[in-house]
């Protein structure tokens, strides 16, 4: 209790709150612009914190972290371009809602679900840090392989009736993830002598190309109609009370999934959002409700947004309790904490409990501020879709170019983005789902490196994998996730996708 009171006294300082507000503002910018990420924002601002106190520096960095993830959902909803990798799943239902003239509603769901996800995970951070972090420590290479395999198996679920095309798209993503130096032997694979490909195909330019440039090219081809109408700002009749309750239920499900997945080191909001989306679909009350997923489902959007943001609390749990980063932004935060003399780990809770409470309170305030901006800005932002389409195309096109270049200051990334854009256009015309390709690209390296590590540890004994219960659980889940849609498709009962 004393620690909580000390923390409350610490944050009742307008200097601190100003730094937090600045961080949230910058986080919103970094999150909303494709190509700029929360990790990048935190890393760029760490040097600026050298000249301020630990609390003030932490406030700014946490503001960026908690502001960027919700902001990533804004372009995902409005333009089908994820602002951050964690927002990929938000495009599946958010953008169809925009095209149906419900952009304002979708943005409000993004804001509300983001707040719910973050606050739920922060509560978990306070209540159950140690047990969850201990569970995360029990995961070895076999379990990580199983988790990644389970994540990849969801490609059948996100293929919306085009199961075989989705599987092929996923395998293409898996194949693309092998480009570069082999993780175990450093043998160059599919680099064709190009030094830019030695580090592999960077994921973010591909994401920007597929979803950003690809979308622009589809519109240029004149085969997609822009949203005719957006919902009126401040019009609460956009959703009924029953619909908001459904959003809340899905948001809570997403929060739970996101917190647990986020606590697993190196499993971030992107994986959490996809798993949560799939779980929300599976737990839908009716077949009709399940069919809505990927076509503008409020539940799907809520679950994915909540999970993407709940992963923040999960990652911070692991980082603060064990000193192990839960995701990329928390890895940079560890460095910032160490610079300011704060050592994450079990001793932090014993020796500096007020610091832990300060962090939780700052993140909660940042989450609230980001939600308020997102909610109030839903109407004006939704009006952007009323801009004449050529202006939107031009902005998206330029942001795609500079965003993919800004990541590594590499022209090679821009060429990759361009190629991915053309691929995205072709895939859309052939109705080949893009989600599985992205899943394969993200999860491929995790799958490969962990499988090979697991087999090295077991000296080549494949049966050692199935003797691990957590891996077996993920493996059975993967089979179930793949088998159902595949059997349906084989029997010809699956209907063609609407998008």
């Amino acid at each position: 209790m004393d620690a909580l009171l000390q923390a409350l006294a610490a944050i009742a300082d307008w200097h601190l709150l100003a730094f937090l507000a600045a961080g949230v503002g910058l986080g919103l910018v970094f999150g909303a612009l494709p190509g700029l990420t929360a990790t990048m924002g935190i890393a760029l601002l760490v040097p600026l914190t050298f000249w301020v106190s630990a609390e003030q520096g932490l406030a700014m960095l946490l503001g960026v972290y908690c502001g960027a993830i919700p902001a990533g959902g804004v372009p995902a909803v409005l333009l089908n371009v994820p602002g951050t990798p964690a927002s990929i799943a938000a495009t599946w239902d958010g953008y169809p809602l925009t095209r149906a003239g419900q952009a304002g509603v979708a943005l409000k769901i993004n804001a509300a679900a983001s707040l719910l996800g973050q606050l739920a995970s922060f509560a978990f951070l306070v209540l159950a840090s140690f047990p969850l972090a201990q569970l995360g420590l029990r995961l070895g290479p076999a379990e990580y392989f199983g988790l990644a395999l389970f994540g990849l198996s969801l490609m059948a679920g996100v293929s919306a009736g085009r199961v075989w095309e989705g599987m092929l798209s996923g395998m293409l993503g898996l194949a693309l993830s092998t480009v570069g130096l082999d993780p175990m032997t450093a043998y160059p694979r599919y680099t064709f002598g190009q030094p830019e490909l030695m580090d592999g195909i960077p994921f973010i330019p591909v994401m920007i190309g597929l979803f950003g440039l690809g979308e622009v090219l589809v519109h240029l081809a004149g085969t997609v109609e822009s949203a005719a109408r957006t919902s009126v700002p401040g019009d609460h009749s956009g959703l009924s009370r029953r619909q908001w309750l459904e959003v809340l239920r899905s948001g809570l499900l997403g929060s739970g999934v996101g917190t647990v997945v986020g606590a697993i080191p190196a499993a971030g909001g992107d994986i959490a959002a996809v798993i949560a989306w799939d779980q929300a679909r599976r737990w839908s009350a009716s077949e009709q409700a399940r069919r809505e997923f990927g076509r503008g489902s409020l539940r799907g959007l809520a679950a994915s947004c909540a999970a993407a943001n709940a992963a923040i609390g999960g990652a911070m749990t692991t980082m603060l309790t064990l000193g192990i980063p839960g995701d990329a932004p928390s890895a940079v935060l560890i460095g910032a904490l160490l610079i300011h003399g704060v050592q994450p780990g079990p001793l932090l809770f014993r020796d500096h409990p007020s610091m832990v409470w300060t962090i939780v309170l700052l993140m909660s305030l940042a989450a609230g501020a980001a939600c308020a901006v997102g909610w109030l800005g839903a109407g004006p932002l939704a009006r952007l879709t009323r801009l004449p389409a050529p202006y939107l195309w031009a902005v998206v096109l330029v942001l795609s170019l500079v965003g993919s270049f800004a990541l590594n200051n590499s022209l090679g990334d821009v060429w990759i983005m361009f190629g991915a854009g053309l691929l995205g256009f072709v895939f859309r015309r052939l109705e080949i789902p893009l989600g599985p390709l992205v899943l394969g690209l993200i999860l491929g390296p995790i799958m490969e490196s962990n499988l090979r590590r697991a087999l090295i540890l077991s000296r080549g004994d494949w049966t050692a994998l199935v003797r691990r219960p957590i891996f077996l659980l993920f493996f059975c889940g993967s089979l179930a996730a793949l088998a159902g849609p595949a059997i349906k498709a084989w029997r010809g009962k699956a209907k063609p996708a609407a998008h």
Binding site: M171, G222, A394, F418, L455
Partner: protein, 142 residues
């Protein structure tokens, strides 16, 4: 440009890619003691592609594919792709602001915006991006 395009060419395309992955995987060095080497995952992806391509070819009849909405849309699409190719090809040769102004103005004009409005909007967008990224985030475009 509307062509009746069977999904079989899609399946064939992926099957060929799968065969290439299988063939290339054979040329990667193998790991000791029977462990998976660098060629394992490409081979897995290749085999899976062959299997799913077969399932696709057997399971779905041909469908028409509408590539563009008409001749004007086709010209617009090709022109923007060429503008982007030019932008990327001249990177480091022509200043970023000039290339971007040409690209953005061209895209707007192709979208039906009048020349004057396209150039004004193109200038504003170019300035905003340059100021934000080059001066705000110290991104060096050339």
């Amino acid at each position: 440009m509307n062509k009746r395009l069977s999904v079989h060419p899609v399946a064939i395309g992926f099957a060929l890619l799968g065969l290439y992955l299988l063939w290339s995987a054979r040329h990667f060095p193998s790991a000791p003691a029977g462990l998976p080497g660098p060629g394992f995952f490409p081979a897995v992806a290749g085999v899976a592609m062959l299997g799913f391509s077969a399932a696709l070819a057997l399971g779905r009849p041909g469908e028409a594919v509408q590539w563009t909405a008409g001749r004007a849309a086709r010209i617009r699409l090709v022109a923007v792709i060429l503008l982007m190719l030019g932008h990327l090809s001249l990177w480091g040769i022509v200043p970023f602001s000039i290339r971007t102004l040409v690209l953005v103005s061209g895209v707007l004009r192709l979208g039906g915006v009048r020349w004057k409005d396209a150039i004004v909007a193109g200038t504003l967008i170019t300035v905003a991006v340059t100021v934000g990224f080059a001066y705000g985030l110290h991104v060096r475009f050339s």
